[in-house]
């Protein structure tokens, strides 16, 4: 009698249930499980993370992907791509491409563009991080419009792209650092009432700008589910981030189907939201 395999991931549990309910033959079960093993274990889950200095790449990788003490050590102006592999559990490996963010240096842009063209097409998820109160948002729009989106469209990986708006917790202090009503409520781990209004307004402006720049809501642009807002430092709204990853391209579903939920918020200093 064959030993009952301990289901490793959520997707194994789903298939086991289907096999049971559908009275699927042992041979067919073996076929599916062998192929699934190949898909999950032999192919690392590849994530490219792009963003300018200070947008919170490290905290995002700590918080969303559960990478303990991850530090983005890209030197200023580097054109080096750093790939790091993280064996997580039961043979599943996360591979992170830490991509430099483009800046106003046109010469460097051309080199970065070559790197992006080399790496982005092979990634399961591409996370472009921006700072919610960035003064450089126009520049991010330019980079997305002129470089990132065309590369993604040319290589049919536009659906793998996520625009991640980080640091929403700092929107208030950027308006008035002396107003306590605009500070993040660290005890409840939620925005205050006044900060909620400010966040909605700011996000509305960002989205309007993305639409104006023809980056969102039209053919060959991002769609609404590809834009997420969050605070990596406070683990705020990680669920939507996981939703966006699940929706990404052909293989995004693999993340929540395997280790996605257990990794989110795992090592980050900030506690998850207080449960109701």
């Amino acid at each position: 009698m064959s030993e009952k395999r301990n289901p490793q991931f959520l997707i194994n549990q789903i298939f086991d249930k289907i096999f049971e309910m559908g009275k699927i033959s042992k041979e067919e079960q073996e076929q599916v499980n062998t192929a699934l093993n190949k898909e999950l274990i032999e192919k690392p889950f590849r994530v490219a993370v792009i963003g300018q200095s200070g947008v919170g790449k490290s905290t995002t990788l700590n918080s969303v992907f559960g990478l303990k003490n991850y530090t983005s050590n890209l030197a200023e102006g580097t054109t080096e791509i750093i790939e790091k592999k993280f064996p997580l559990r039961d043979g599943f490996t996360l591979s992170i491409y830490d991509m430099p963010g483009l800046n106003n240096d046109i010469e460097k842009d051309e080199e970065y563009e070559k790197l992006y063209k080399m790496i982005l097409p092979g990634c399961d998820v591409i996370v472009y991080i921006i700072n919610a109160h960035s003064r450089d948002f126009g520049e991010d729009c330019r980079i997305l419009k002129e470089i990132v989106l065309p590369i993604c469209n040319d290589n049919k990986v536009r659906e793998n792209l996520i625009l991640a708006i980080n640091k929403i917790d700092t929107i208030g202090e950027n308006i008035d650092p002396n107003d306590p009503e605009l500070q993040w409520d660290a005890f409840e781990n939620l925005p205050t009432a006044k900060l909620k209004v400010a966040i909605k307004e700011k996000l509305g402006d960002i989205v309007a700008k993305l639409i104006d720049e023809n980056l969102l809501g039209a053919e060959e642009t991002l769609q609404q589910h590809q834009v997420v807002f969050y605070s990596a430092v406070y683990n705020y709204n990680l669920q939507d981030f996981i939703r966006a990853i699940a929706h990404a391209g052909n293989r995004g579903w693999i993340w929540p189907a395997t280790v996605g939920f257990e990794q989110a918020g795992k090592w980050s200093d900030a506690k998850l939201l207080k449960d109701e």
Binding site: M21, E28, Q31, V207, F261
Partner: protein, 110 residues
């Protein structure tokens, strides 16, 4: 007007026209995108944000659809069971349910 406009609530139709006035050069799809984003941000920010939760029907739907595509790729067809679970999930999502305890049991209780 397109069908998705007709399906909007009265309040959303007002908001639609507001957006249209603020951004007269936007087309219907762009306005609906903005509306969807506003709805989403209201839901999240007013609702208290979201901890990661595997009982999320939207994420489970993506998992099942991804698994179905993958199975088709490897030439396997146990998809009728996945389709049955997807029908249940789509009904849950349409009715606005965002969380169900033991969604797994609900979906696979044929």
């Amino acid at each position: 007007m397109p069908e998705d406009y007709n399906n909007l609530s009265a309040k959303e139709k007002i908001r639609y026209r507001q957006i249209q006035t603020e951004h007269p050069h936007w087309d219907h799809k762009q306005i609906m995108c903005k509306l969807a984003f506003d709805r989403q941000s209201d839901r999240i920010i007013d609702g208290g944000g979201n901890n990661p939760n595997p009982n999320d029907p939207i994420i489970l739907k993506q998992i099942l659809e991804g698994a179905k595509r993958w199975l088709k790729q490897i030439g396997n067809s146990i998809n009728e069971y996945i389709d049955s679970a997807l029908r249940k999930i789509n009904n849950l999502i349409k009715s606005g349910i965002e969380y169900i305890a033991d969604i797994f049991g609900l979906l696979f209780n044929f």
